[in-house]
């Protein structure tokens, strides 16, 4: 087990190096000298100069790379070019709101999608199944933008059931007042693709031989699906959920923007609009690290669910 962990961590190092290189290439090389970009946005020429010095723009590439690596290692990406806040500060304060919306979203979406998928797999071939599937297809074809715009307009602006946007001061208020509509819209948007995906997982399992054996033992169809099939189908479902986890950190850009939720996603969008490189770089690196960690956790979780997995 220890050997496995060590080997896995060892294997993530090249990936981490790759990500660092990619981000570096993107921002320092392709992005080039930010003076040109910032000219229109920051009026203070000394500020631009200090930024250039920070980045080491006039220095050779490897020095710039080393500066970047130091930043990552220390966790200090400097300050935002637009707001002058410490980037690490930004990240720390914005994480909370993002998670407040996204964790409940992920949980509710997964449970609903699994329930819908199981129901539809049980009724496979029937009219209900086909209608639900077509409904999912149509639902997926409408852009998330439309959902947000329409629901925000109808439910918040017109009917006044929820606040149109904004964020509160304390946790309870946030979760029960401000998060509701964003979570609702988020679930609506992700439900269709997840239902389809989980349905295919369930159907794959239902066609296996061991299901035939379970039926031959005289077990009810409910037990076959809820105990036998579910256990096996949960393996790919877990994969799917784990893959979505790093996305939580990156935040749901659009939802946060429309509902003015001060989360990481909205921060990133603002940063991109203002070409605020430090923020974007930092988020990218953090999220990449988070992805590697969640992949490792996912593998460990497999072992708990699937006894065939040999970790070595």
């Amino acid at each position: 087990m220890l050997a496995y962990l060590v080997r896995r961590l060892w294997q993530t190092i090249p990936t981490l190096i790759g990500v660092v290189l990619l981000v570096f290439l993107l921002f320092n090389w392709v992005g080039g000298d930010p003076a040109y970009l910032l000219a229109g946005k920051i009026s203070n020429p000394e500020q631009i100069e200090s930024i250039r010095r920070q980045l080491g723009v006039d220095q050779p590439a490897y020095v710039q790379l080393w500066l970047f690596v130091q930043q990552i290692a220390s966790g200090d990406f400097g300050t935002s070019w637009s707001t002058n806040e410490q980037v690490s500060e930004i990240f720390a304060t914005r994480l909370g709101p993002s998670l407040t919306v996204l964790v409940p979203l992920l949980v509710i979406d997964t449970m609903l999608a699994m329930a819908a998928a199981m129901l539809v797999a049980y009724l496979r071939g029937s009219l209900t199944d086909r209608l639900v599937m077509i409904g999912c297809t149509i639902g997926q074809s409408i852009s998330i933008l439309v959902y947000i715009i329409v629901f925000q307009y109808l439910l918040a602006y017109r009917l006044g059931w929820f606040p149109v946007q904004g964020w509160g001061a304390n946790f309870l208020e946030n979760i029960f007042v401000y998060s509701l509509l964003p979570i609702f819209v988020g679930v609506i948007v992700s439900l269709a693709p997840d239902t389809r995906l989980y349905r295919s997982f369930f159907l794959d399992e239902i066609n296996q031989d061991y299901v035939r054996t379970a039926r031959a033992k005289g077990l009810s169809e409910m037990r076959v699906i809820w105990v036998h099939v579910l256990r096996n189908a949960s393996i790919p479902i877990i994969t799917n959920v784990m893959i979505q986890l790093p996305g939580l950190l990156a935040g749901a850009f659009l939802i946060e923007r429309f509902f003015s939720i001060p989360g990481i996603g909205r921060e990133v969008l603002l940063a991109v609009e203002r070409s605020d490189f430090p923020v974007i770089k930092a988020v990218t690196i953090y999220v990449a690290i988070a992805t590697m960690v969640t992949n490792l956790l996912a593998d460990l979780l497999y072992k708990a669910v699937d006894p065939r997995v040999q970790l070595k």
Binding site: G18, L22, L26, V30, R124, L145, V146, V268, V287
Partner: protein
């Protein structure tokens, strides 16, 4: 006479290959056929629009500002602007709308509209001076379109936007943009993903390790974040840029699938037989295995067209997508948000409907393709 010669001449049997069989299966699927027809229609629309046959005059302001759809009848004249130039479309419009968005409802909207209306209709004795008025007048005089004193239609087929441009034409132009971006980016991504996947899956070893490393680097960063990061860096809009960004980040899904397929097929006996009789690696990869994997590529291509169209819409909405002189459903949706507040729903409806039709058709087509190419009893 050699009986085999007889056989040859008589029975040049029309022998159905797997593609023909799949086509036959496909033809039985009515839903699939209908969606195929719809997709073809959209392709035709794209071609017609691209070559300028239709909707090439989308940017001409032919209707009154916020002209309602014809079936609804003309709007009241009070708060509407009837003549006047459209402010030059600028890069600031996205920010402007964004600014308005983050403020929520603008309680002064109606009052401002009235003021502006009162100002413009007057023509010269205005309190607000337009510093560019003379320049604009020169430009307008130079172009063949006279928009200053034209009569504007009170209604358009599907309504008009803020500047009185025909929403239907914009929707058609948006189709062209999205279809082009979707198809081009998907093709490029499929090409990259297939070649990388083939090499990695077939050769294994360090080649596989390299591509896997490449893949994990790209997938460590969430898709949208990566796109936004690249967009931020490039800071350059344009259709080709969008195509490039999307395909350079979107090849990963196809890569993983094709790699798995190649690994599966490489140990199949027909490939071993090919090796046994002396076929080279290249021959085995592309003459033997690729035809057996092409149906996976096709389905993935179709899926990615949908994915890229949706991504492009989001990008254009945020202002990082296609250029300012190109219409996209995303930019239409951007305008639509503020229009909703004054009760104009038609641009939103047009963009949503067009997109929904195309993406649903593509989605159903993909399902039908899957079933036809790899029939499993449902």
């Amino acid at each position: 006479m050699n009986p085999n010669h007889l056989a040859r001449s008589q029975v040049r049997a029309e022998s159905p290959g797997l593609w023909v069989l799949a086509w036959r299966r496909f033809c039985y699927d009515r839903v699939g056929l209908i969606s195929f027809d719809i997709v073809l229609f959209f392709v035709a629309l794209m071609a017609a629009s691209a070559t300028g046959l239709i909707a090439s005059d989308w940017s001409i302001e032919v209707g009154v500002s916020h002209a309602p759809p014809t079936f609804m009848g003309p709007a009241d004249a009070s708060a509407r602007i009837t003549t006047g130039a459209a402010p030059p479309e600028s890069a600031m419009s996205a920010r402007e709308t964004e600014g308005r968005n983050s403020d929520g409802v603008d309680p002064l909207a109606e009052i401002l509209a009235e003021i502006r209306g009162a100002n413009r209709s007057g023509a010269r004795d205005v309190a607000i001076v337009d510093p560019l008025a003379e320049v604009l007048a020169q430009i307008r005089a130079g172009s063949s379109v006279e928009s200053a004193t034209d009569v504007r239609a009170p209604t358009l087929i599907f309504g008009g936007d803020k500047w009185g441009r025909d929403v239907l034409k914009k929707a058609i132009k948006g189709t062209e943009t999205s279809m082009f971006v979707g198809l081009a980016a998907a093709t490029l991504a499929a090409l990259l993903g297939t070649v990388f996947g083939a090499l990695a899956g077939y050769y294994g070893g360090w080649i596989d390790d390299f591509f896997n490393w490449f893949y994990s680097v790209f997938t460590s960063i969430p898709y949208l974040l990566l796109i936004l990061a690249i967009a931020a860096v490039l800071n350059q809009k344009g259709t080709m840029t969008v195509v490039l960004i999307l395909s350079l980040t979107g090849w990963t899904g196809i890569f993983r699938l094709i790699r798995a397929e190649y690994m599966k097929h490489k140990i199949r006996e027909y490939v071993q037989a090919a090796e046994a009789l002396g076929a080279s690696d290249m021959r085995r990869m592309f003459v033997h295995i690729l035809p057996n994997v092409s149906h996976v590529v096709l389905v993935q291509l179709s899926l990615h067209v949908v994915l890229f169209i949706k991504s492009e819409v989001v990008l254009s909405f945020l202002g990082f997508g296609v250029g300012v002189d190109t219409v996209s459903w995303g930019s239409m949706l951007n305008e639509a948000q503020s229009e909703l507040l004054i009760g104009n729903w038609w641009q939103l409806a047009a963009a949503t409907l067009a997109m929904a039709m195309l993406v649903t058709a593509f989605g159903l087509l993909t399902d039908a393709l899957r079933d036809a190419l790899d029939p499993k009893l449902k």
